[in-house]
């Protein structure tokens, strides 16, 4: 066990985490240079395109250190986007150490700090690395000072690396062996293994990625899960190379996989502890918090006939994404669909895009919202994740919404701009600390609902892209919120309702109705668009009736062309949603996201 090192790499997005991982794999001979696709650990097509890791993965390497001993290094990859913070913490729980990567040109960023705190909380040994030191814009001294201030380490503890130029990789591997403690644990003790991830394989069912803390797990062992209370059998255990490698045994300290004939990834619950049915451990390992969706939105098939197909696609999708939750809902406007919970907007976009790409599902997404606690005058608490379900105005005592603690790291000259955004977004300023003379770390509290819209874009443009941002949930707080309804030809369209702060409701109402006016094409009949709170109409706009749509010329016998034009128009109509006599284009349901405040 002394020759095992379990570690992960944590970094702010784009600081080179995946490149370093690839470099380690290459140096230790797991992959040859020729095999090395960029970002080996990111195997979803979408991950490669967006350059982010969505699902975490694990891989084993072998390394002969300077002490002439052979070591087994298990690298557990972590996702890089704030939406997936929970996946970071679950990866951390399987490790004894973390390599903290900081970009030599960018310096310490918000996620560097937040991930670092997660790693420190998990009790990990931190190995600081400055990456991209070969860049012309690298500021190694400055970044070193930032890291020293942050960690309280010495300058000589920091490893200088360029993954691209293969500088410092051997030193990094040596430090991993030297500084990260070997796992503790007793191979003969009752089994305790942590499931830190699970993926779905169409042929084998759920595959759990596990870290064994105590005891030994062998093929054919009878196993039990603490949380799920289901027994099963270890069909196959092994380690994770570039592919799965069967070993028939994993013992304390090992990282590997388990196939236990479980069809559903939700039965191999991430964070759950495995033990033996006979002579099992009495207690589970401390798990980590269940993933809780933060953002909700309705997903509806563009064509109502595709509802069952969408359900199938979601069922399949869910097998590989335990963070996605959904349940059927009905909308008067959109028909049958699903209310889905996501970790954040990026997660929502990814789900939507993957549903389209991998499952061919064309869907309409309604405006994302958070989950509200509504307290009625009768003293009930109602959890509302869909604005359409908001009780009538007169029955509401008060409403609470989720708040987040946000951390923004920025060059100090943009502090003023950020303060202004924070005010617009109903933020409360808490504190500022300085990372060094030029970089400030600002702390705020924001309602989550303000963050999920265009906060990040606004922040980026107000700071020329220099600010970075991270946030975590802190709890529910009372807010003066109202439901804003949109009425088309006098009929409320439930899928267009939204919950907004009263102070912004008038302005939003005007902007939404005028945006809808631009997005809804002119049709046979005039369409009136109203924004209303309760019975009070706060703004009105009109889409005038279409007056001309006919091809003037239809002779010379080329009917084929005319028919094709008509077929094209029909296709266009199919992409619209019919609500009463009004056709609403898909993008109108997300109109609010396109409003420039």
């Amino acid at each position: 066990m002394n020759n095992i090192r379990n570690f992960c790499i944590i970094a702010h997005i784009d600081h080179g985490k995946s490149t370093i991982a690839d470099c380690l794999l290459e140096t230790t001979g797991v992959v040859s240079k020729r095999e090395a696709k960029d970002q080996i650990l990111d195997d979803l097509e979408l991950e490669r395109e967006r350059g982010i890791t969505i699902k975490s993965h694990a891989i084993q390497m072998h390394f002969r250190a300077k002490d002439k001993k052979d070591y087994v290094l298990n690298l557990i990859d972590t996702p890089g986007h704030v939406d997936f913070t929970y996946e970071v913490s679950r990866s951390l729980a399987a490790c004894e150490g973390a390599v903290l990567v900081v970009d030599a040109a960018q310096g310490v960023e918000a996620q560097t700090i937040s991930n670092l705190y997660l790693a420190i909380d998990a009790g990990l040994e931190i190995l600081p690395v400055i990456n991209k030191i070969d860049l012309p814009s690298a500021e190694v001294d400055k970044v070193s000072h930032q890291i020293i201030d942050l960690l309280g380490c010495k300058k000589e503890d920091i490893i200088l690396v360029s993954a691209k130029a293969k500088i410092g990789i051997d030193e990094l591997l040596e430090d991993i062996v030297l500084k990260i403690p070997p796992p503790a644990g007793d191979p003969n003790a009752p089994l305790q293994a942590l499931i830190f991830d699970s993926v779905f394989d169409p042929y084998r069912g759920a595959i759990a990625y596990i870290r064994v803390f105590q005891g030994t797990i062998k093929t054919n062992d009878k196993l039990k899960f603490f949380k799920i209370h289901k027994d099963s059998e270890a069909e196959e255990v092994g380690i994770l190379g570039l592919k799965r490698i069967k070993t028939n045994e994993l013992s304390a300290g090992d990282v590997g996989y388990l196939i236990a004939g479980v069809k559903d990834v939700h039965d191999t619950k991430v964070g759950d502890t495995l033990t033996h049915v006979k002579n099992g451990a009495a207690e589970p390992l401390p798990g980590y918090k269940d993933v809780k969706p933060m953002v909700y939105s309705g997903l509806y098939p563009t064509d109502a006939d595709d509802f069952e197909d969408l359900r199938d696609a979601l069922d399949k999708f869910r097998l590989n994404d335990s963070a996605l939750i959904y349940q059927p809902e009905t909308s008067a406007a959109l028909g049958f669909g699903f209310r889905c919970g996501f970790l954040g907007l990026l997660h929502m976009e990814i789900v939507q895009e993957r549903l389209l790409r991998e499952y061919g599902q064309s869907i309409i997404t309604t405006l994302p919202n958070v989950e509200y606690y509504v307290y009625t005058k009768k003293g009930e608490k109602i959890v509302v994740d869909n604005p359409a379900e908001m009780p009538a105005l007169g029955n509401i005592d008060y409403i609470e919404e989720p708040y987040m603690k946000a951390q923004i790291v920025t060059p100090s000259e943009y502090v003023g701009n950020i303060m202004k955004i924070a005010m617009d977004k109903r933020g409360t300023y808490i504190n500022t600390t300085y990372i060094d003379r030029t970089r400030a770390d600002l702390q705020f509290e924001f309602p989550l609902s303000e963050i999920i819209f265009d906060f990040y874009d606004k922040l980026k443009s107000a700071t020329r892209g220099y600010a970075s941002f991270d946030y975590e949930y802190i709890g529910y707080r009372k807010s003066d919120l109202v439901k804003l309804d949109i009425l088309l030809n006098g009929e409320p369209v439930d899928a267009l309702s939204m919950i907004v702060h009263r102070s912004k409701s008038f302005d939003w109402g005007k902007k939404v109705s005028s945006k809808l006016k631009d997005l809804i094409p002119r049709q046979m009949f005039e369409i009136s668009i109203q924004a209303a709170i309760g019975t009070k109409v706060i703004s009105k706009s009109v889409v005038k009736a279409l007056r001309k749509n006919v091809l003037a010329k239809c002779y010379g016998g080329d009917i084929t062309r005319k028919r094709k034009l008509l077929e094209k128009q029909k296709e266009g109509k199919k992409r619209m949603k019919q609500v009463g006599n009004v056709e609403i284009p898909q993008e109108a349901f997300l109109a609010v996201l396109q409003i420039d405040e």
Binding site: Q523, N549, V550, C554, G557, L566, Q569
Partner: protein, 376 residues
């Protein structure tokens, strides 16, 4: 006897107008070669389609058929009559450009067998004619109509284009006034459309010409309808108006889903539920005829659904949907399915439903494609 129409595409032009996307060439090379190829094509198809058909119309389109010598068209007409069962009373139309014919030439065309003349006037305004790059002026346009009447053409139609850039409503009405004062029986008014590949399209893309918006287009269209109705014309298609008794037999064949045989480069045919179209290039056309006797570039079999949609599309944009004929052809519940929508359209004065006919009103014609989109 299956009623069938004949279309002959004469591809020659004096020059290419900026808005035109019909196939034409401005060289007179191959005029004679074209005629012999066309005659071969006539013979080829007469072997296939002469039985049991009554050819009720011949339409010389182009290009500029009136650029040809009358004897040239006469030879073609005779050849058609020798090879197809052309009705004695067949309507024989020639598209005519005012800049290409004097009174004598018109007289000869009449004698050659042409009995309907469709004059591409487009506008009576000198500036508009210049913009459209037409070769005639206002005076020759008017003179051509009178000449045609004087040599004995009873069935005279003219084409006008509206919604030109900067065209005022007054100017458009002025055009219509001039037109209706002439001895004409039929008028086609087309809203200027941008076609891909035309010079006009390029000018618009380059920002050198700005088209007027759809609402203004609708204003001019409505004005035209009102004006022409007041002058004793009635509308029987989106862009076509006629005095009673002078509907174009040939165009009606397209709109009433009859068979038609198109000959010449780029011509389209629709026979026995099959559509095909010829090569557009004159050289290719001649070469193909030499090789195969025909010059078919491509064809399509119409599926039952396509047939259904085409039938409705063509009927609604012209004299209306004959529900009895519809039910004879297609036995389904499409009409019931759309009943609510039809009633709504009726309420909004976009259609009339009378004696088993669904007919668009003038207001309905303007949004014909929108209606089709919603019912098909």
């Amino acid at each position: 006897m299956k009623i069938t129409a004949l279309y002959i595409h004469i591809p020659f032009c004096d020059h290419k107008c900026i808005y035109c996307d019909f196939y034409s060439i401005i060289t007179s090379d191959n005029i004679l070669n074209f005629k012999s190829a066309l005659k071969k094509e006539i013979e080829y198809f007469s072997n296939i389609y002469s039985d049991n058909r009554n050819y009720s119309s011949i339409f010389f389109g182009g290009g500029t058929p009136s650029l040809m010598q009358p004897e040239y068209l006469q030879e073609i007409i005779i050849h058609l009559k020798n090879n197809f069962n052309v009705d004695d009373k067949a309507e024989i139309t020639m598209e005519t450009n005012p800049g290409t014919v004097n009174k004598n030439k018109l007289k000869s065309f009449k004698e050659a067998g042409i009995n309907r003349i469709s004059i591409g006037i487009q506008s009576f305004d000198e500036n508009e004619l210049k913009f459209l790059t037409r070769i005639h002026d206002k005076q020759s346009a008017i003179q051509t109509v009178y000449n045609a009447a004087e040599v004995g053409f009873e069935n005279i139609s003219i084409d006008l284009i509206f919604n030109l850039p900067n065209q005022t409503k007054e100017k458009w009405i002025e055009n219509l006034k001039t037109a209706t004062a002439l001895p004409i029986k039929h008028i086609s008014t087309y809203s200027l459309i941008l076609e891909r590949g035309t010079i006009l399209n390029k000018l618009v893309l380059d920002g050198k010409v700005t088209m007027q918006d759809d609402d203004y287009d609708a204003d001019l269209y409505e004005a035209a309808i009102d004006f022409l109705l007041s002058k004793g014309f009635y509308q029987y298609e989106v862009s076509n108006f006629t005095k009673p008794g002078f509907e174009c037999t040939h165009n009606n064949a397209y709109w009433r889903y009859r068979d038609y045989l198109g000959l010449g480069p780029s011509a389209h045919s629709f026979m026995n539920n099959k559509r095909w179209w010829n090569f557009s290039s004159l050289k290719k056309y001649i070469a193909e005829i030499e090789l195969h006797g025909h010059a078919i570039m491509n064809s399509e079999h119409i599926t039952k659904n396509q047939m259904h949609d085409e039938y409705i599309m063509l009927a609604l944009r012209s004299s209306g949907l004959d529900l009895i004929d519809y039910n004879k052809r297609f036995n389904n519940n499409w009409i019931n399915k759309n009943n609510d929508y039809f009633n709504l359209l009726k309420k909004e004065n976009l259609i009339t439903i009378e004696n088993n006919w669904i007919k668009l009103t003038s207001k309905g014609y303007a949004v014909c494609d929108e209606i089709l989109k919603n019912i098909l």
